[in-house]
């Protein structure tokens, strides 16, 4: 089972990136840093997908004469989708953060929840 773990270092890096992003997402109290953590998670996922699509010795999936082997184009398209969605989600979440900061003058999630409780929502 552990046979290929030493060869799959791209995937291992991707998983560690995901873990780092997740820890920032869960542990940091600053909302903007949480979003940065989310984006690090996304980078890990893109790296994993790109590594899954790679074929050793394969060329870029652009048709050229004399090329026998191309890399897998499907993960490339999936990463494109992922990047677009991540940009949209990040922008939307940052707009929400701006809105919260305007109202409560803080980015700290603990202080925010205290202020919300004080307001009696």
């Amino acid at each position: 089972m552990w046979l290929y773990l030493r060869e799959n270092y791209y995937q291992i890096t991707a998983m560690f990136l995901f873990g780092i992003g997740l820890s920032a997402l869960l542990l940091d109290r600053n909302l903007v840093k949480k979003l940065i953590g989310l984006n690090i998670c996304n980078s890990g996922i893109y790296l994993f997908l790109a590594a899954q699509g790679y074929i050793r010795g394969g060329a870029v999936p652009i048709v050229a004469d004399g090329v026998q082997l191309y890399i897998n184009p499907v993960p490339t398209g999936l990463i494109l989708t992922g990047i677009v969605i991540s940009v949209s989600v990040t922008a939307f979440a940052l707009a929400l953060v701006v809105r919260l900061y305007k109202r409560y003058q803080t980015l700290d999630i603990d202080e925010l929840s205290k202020l919300v409780v004080k307001e009696g929502m």
Binding site: Y4, M15, L22, L26, I55
Partner: protein, 258 residues
Amino acid sequence: MNLFSLSAWRHRLLRYYPLVALSLTVGITALLLVTLAALPPLGEVGNPSHNLVSLKYIEDGLGDTGALNIVAGMILDYRAFDTFGEACVLFTATCAIIILLRSDTPDAYDTMLHQMEEPHTNIILQSVSFLLVGIMLVFGCYVIANGHLSPGGGFSGGSILGAALILYVNSYGIRRASHFINFTIYRRLVSFSLLFYAAFKGYSFFMGANHLPSGIPLGKPGDLLSAGLILPLNIAVGCVVAGTVYAIYVLFSQGEMR
């Protein structure tokens, strides 16, 4: 009963939140690494992820779509519905940001933004962007127009165009930029591009056809005017992306788009 009411036991539980979060993170990472151990080695031809789907795209892509760039042929022809959804997501995100950042009564944050609005005359920035913005715009158009021949396409080219516009705004100010791109132009550009996309691909969406000849001849592979609908669709996607990138920047820096 509200969501945030912190009773005493909840306070006590919250003290352990970092510990729980850390163990959750470590646990998930360890689980993922264990899963990785079951994966086949990197880059082998026989891996299960390189199945019939990718072979079909690689072998028939050029003949079906006429695009040298297999990824462009895949995302704008076989899976055009997916790309249409992405463009719509960008548009919807911009709409949501416009709604969220709109403020009826200007507050301290808005006055801060308005003080930052016009850049001081910065001769270095202005000279550099005078040289760069034109080149960036041309390069962005090149990337969009050659999306079916070389790496690139609507998304990457649109991002380059948006970056050029952002550089222009930063060096010359929003007032000069609004002569050629403002809210009205953005709205028309993006809506027209999305409607164009929907009009030319909507038939195959509703008919459930995987690949539908558009009636436009595919042309000789490798020519600029080839690959049927992919070039116009790339231009439409590029317009949407460039407008969205620029609009998101302006919305966050100005609070609204005029």
